[in-house]
């Protein structure tokens, strides 16, 4: 007996896989049924008794017809795929339709007549009814079996499939056995044996209910309802077959004609077996669903977490590639089956707008995603509330412009927030209204949280990358800028020089230079470009150019500063200016002539007279195009004496502040220089900086700071001061 399924299986796979095979099966089934129907009609009209052989042929033919129908329908049912809800709903409709049809048929045909002698139809209407009902009920049985097949074979193994086929085969054989040997008593024993044998795979299959577990709570409730309804309807169809069973057992009362049994007893048995299995299966399903309901929540959460975690594992590996990351985020809800379409709306200030844009979409085009939904309003909503937004009926929300054909029945909007920063929102949509379960939203929210974290990491990575690039460029700029400064201090007879420069940032605004003007004259320049950063660096480079081109043209510091002002003012931005002090040291006659273009005054220390601040008038470079600059500018001629110490510096030195906000200041600077004047230049400088650090309490510099210390060890000035009370003479640079 168990061998029978094998040829069936081969037949099934060979024939049903091909379209021609399917058509052939259908045609064969139709022809066979036509022959059976005509035969039944013929015998019924004639009314003569038929031989048991003929009856057996009819019965075997009927069962064969059912088998052919089952095989022909296989591809049609397989194509519709696995979906317990849809499957059960369809079966329910078919069952309800059949019952309705049976009732209608009864109403129209009325009472039929059965020929009790032949057990066939007594007249033509009855015969026609028998044929139609036989066809309908066979179709119904096939539909029930095919509907339950994907459920039974859910996560199937080879064994399950074998058992399913064995069950079908045993049903067929048992159905045939009921009539083959009638009326010998052994038939009932054989039938009982066969029916009992087929019960084993039936019960086994009836407990194949693995598909129930992954269903959500709501789906479980619905499938339970469907299963119960189906069980009820199958029960009703079966109930009206009991009349047939009764008649088969010889106790037919004649009140109602058991049409199916009149047509073929074997077919009747087969249909009853199939329906019995359907009833059993739906009943176990109802009970199982009932028992599974309470554990749904926990299971659903677990599965959604598993789904989310699977997607998350992919996320963390894509932090380095932002484009790929956004693609993964948008596709994960679709791939995990939670949503039918999903898209990612990101707020990306780097794009020059704070309005969110659709960065990636899955199951929907980016254009449609942006068009069908008011992205900005929804992103703002969830970013503000920081909780997921679920629109069960998306079209009812004024922010959703989608129409029924646009596949946005329900919409979930998940905020992407990490570290207090909102990156935008993840949108997930389903065609159905109310398509999202609570646990779907939970899973999506978990996922969105991790996605936001991944986005945050990606942007941090980008920032770090950008920072590193900037740092490299700044280091390069610093290197270039360093080369603009003198690489060594020229030898000046009688003068001792020391320089220290401390940029506060990579690019400084301070500049100094030494120029050998020839014949024992040296130019010493210190300058501070207003502002910092790249612009200051460019102005500084320009100043360097002016020094190189113009410094040697004159030994008058006022003249040089005026030239520099005229050369630089046109190219300086309106708000930009340069303060500078330029001194010309004449080692032959012992004079140090300085001019100040808005710069900090030079500190001068001399034995008896205490410190001086050399601050002759002078506008900053770039504040006036020429005339006012020249007329304002004064030169100060210092008549040097051995031991004189000068400090040229930028404002960073005097404006350095301590923790109390107090500035180092000019007075403290002047006193310090005065106190240190006995030392050589480099010691004066070192002690000065140490004193400043001691004052500020820090080794860091808030502002660029450059200090030049000049100590005069040469001759007493051969040029006398015009004012004996002062070591210098002040005169207009341009008389």
């Amino acid at each position: 007996m168990l061998l029978i399924p094998q040829p069936f299986a081969r037949l099934s796979s060979v024939l049903s896989e091909e379209r021609t095979g399917r058509i052939a099966l259908t045609v064969a089934a139709a022809l066979l049924f036509a022959v059976l129907g005509v035969t039944h009609g013929g015998f019924s009209l004639v009314g003569a008794p038929i031989t048991s052989f003929t009856r057996s042929v009819i019965n075997v033919g009927s069962v064969l017809f059912a088998a052919l129908l089952y095989l022909a329908a296989t591809p049609w049912f397989e194509r519709s795929g696995y979906d317990p809800l849809r499957t059960l709903w369809r079966a329910l409709l078919v069952a309800a339709g059949l019952l309705m049809a049976l009732v209608v048929l009864r109403m129209f045909v009325g009472e039929g007549h059965m020929n009790t002698r032949t057990s066939l139809s007594g007249d033509l209407p009855t015969a026609i009814s028998a044929v139609v009902i036989a066809l309908m009920e066979t179709l119904f049985a096939v539909a029930i079996l095919h509907s339950l097949r994907p459920l039974v074979l859910f996560r199937r193994t080879r064994r399950t499939r074998l058992i399913w086929r064995t069950m079908l085969a045993l049903m067929g054989v048992a159905a045939i056995s009921t009539v083959l040997l009638i009326p010998t008593s052994s038939s009932s024993v054989l039938t009982t044996l066969l029916v009992s044998a087929s019960l084993i795979p039936m019960v086994y299959c009836a407990f194949r209910l693995g598909w129930i577990v992954p269903l959500s709570f709501r789906h479980k409730l619905i499938t339970m309802l469907f299963s119960a309804g189906l069980a009820g309807l199958i029960g009703l169809v079966m109930f009206q077959q009991f009349e047939g069973l009764a008649s088969a057992a010889g106790s037919f009362s004649g009140e109602r004609v058991p049409y199916l049994y009149v047509f073929s007893r074997s077919l009747g048995e087969l249909v009853v077996f199939s329906l019995a299995f359907g009833f059993l299966y739906t009943l176990t399903a109802v009970l199982s669903l009932l028992f599974h309901l309470p554990t749904t929540q926990a299971f659903a959460q677990q599965t959604s977490e598993i789904r989310a975690f699977k997607a998350l594992a992919e996320l963390s590996s894509e932090v380095l590639n932002r484009d790929q990351l956004v693609e993964t985020i948008s596709s994960a809800p679709v791939l995990s089956g939670i949503a039918e379409s999903a898209w990612l709306a990101l707020i990306d200030p780097a794009r020059g707008s704070l309005a969110p844009h659709v960065a990636a979409a899955s199951g929907i085009s980016k254009l449609d995603a942006g068009r069908l939904v008011a992205i900005d309003a929804l992103v703002e909503d969830v970013a503000h509330s920081a909780t997921p937004l679920l629109l069960g009926t998306a079209a009812a929300d004024h922010r959703v412009h989608a129409r029924p054909g646009d596949h946005i029945g329900s919409l979930a909007v998940l905020p992407l927030v990490a570290g207090g920063q909102s990156f935008g929102a993840l949108f997930a949509a389903k065609m159905m209204t109310d398509g999202f379960e609570e646990d779907d939203v939970t899973a999506l929210a978990t996922f969105a949280g991790q996605a936001a974290l991944a986005l945050s990491h990606a942007s941090l990575f980008q920032v770090a990358l950008e920072k590193e690039r900037l740092a490299r460029e700044l280091a390069l700029a610093r290197e270039v800028q360093q080369r603009l400064l003198p690489q060594s201090i020229p030898e000046m007879a009688g003068a001792d020089l020391a320089v220290a420069e401390h940029p506060a940032h990579e690019i400084a605004g301070d500049y100094y230079d030494f120029v050998d003007l020839g014949e024992g004259c040296f130019g010493i320049l210190i300058a501070d470009v207003a502002g910092k950063g790249a612009a200051a660096a460019f102005y500084m480079a320009q100043l360097k150019g002016v020094v190189q081109s113009s410094a040697k043209l004159t030994r008058a510091p006022g003249e040089f500063l005026a030239l520099a002002n005229e050369a630089l003012t046109p190219s300086l931005a309106r708000r930009a200016f340069i303060s500078a002090t330029y001194g010309v040291l004449d080692t032959r006659n012992g004079t140090f002539t300085v001019a100040r273009a808005g710069h900090c005054p030079i500190v001068m220390a001399r034995d008896e007279d205490g410190p001086w601040l050399l601050r002759a008038d002078g506008l900053g470079i770039g504040l006036d195009p020429g005339p006012l600059f020249r007329s304002t500018l004064h030169e100060q001629v210092v008549h040097l004496s051995p031991g004189d110490v000068f400090a040229l510096y930028t404002d960073g030195l005097v404006e350095a502040r301590n923790a109390d906000g107090e500035e180092y200041g000019y007075d403290r600077l002047a006193e310090t220089i005065q106190d240190l004047r006995e030392h050589i230049a480099s010691d004066v400088l070192a002690a000065l900086l140490a004193d400043q650090r001691h004052f500020t309490g820090t080794n860091d510099y808030a502002d660029d700071q450059t200090v030049i210390v000049l100590k005069w060890n040469g001759m007493e000035s051969s040029v006398p001061s015009l004012d004996p009370a002062k070591p210098f003479t002040i005169r207009p640079a341009f008389a």
Binding site: G598, D617, T632, D651
Partner: protein
């Protein structure tokens, strides 16, 4: 972080800008925005009240330079009043008193707008 603020006060036809705190490279933008607002609203007669200004850097001075020409072209001026000595020194070193009218008191500065014949004399 920013301990600088600008507030507006009207003493028609003059608009007084009260500066408080430290005007440096970080806060210069705020001052610039304030002056830009005055220019946009055709308020060309401005007095900067600097009695609460604790510090000014070259970037802060740059903002004065950036706007003064614009204000003068509009028939107004930018006058400075009430600077603390330490802050005045910074203005003074650069030669700002030659370019701006810097008064001891706000009243004086406002009064300068009322007498159109007065030339700036530092």
């Amino acid at each position: 972080m920013s301990n600088f603020s600008v507030s507006f006060r009207r003493r028609d036809p003059v608009c007084i800008l009260d500066l408080t705190g430290e005007l440096d490279a970080h806060t210069a933008g705020e001052f610039e925005a304030a002056l830009q607002r005055c220019v946009t609203e055709a308020d060309y007669k401005l007095v900067v009240q600097g009695k609460d200004l604790q510090y000014i850097s070259s970037a802060g001075l740059g903002v004065f330079m950036a706007f003064v020409e614009l204000l003068r072209e509009g028939g107004g001026d930018l006058k400075i009043a009430g600077l603390q000595p330490r802050v005045f020194t910074v203005f003074d070193l650069l030669g700002f008193p030659l370019l701006f009218e810097i008064m001891d008191s706000e009243d004086e500065a406002v009064a300068r707008f009322d007498s159109p014949t007065v030339q700036n004399d530092g």
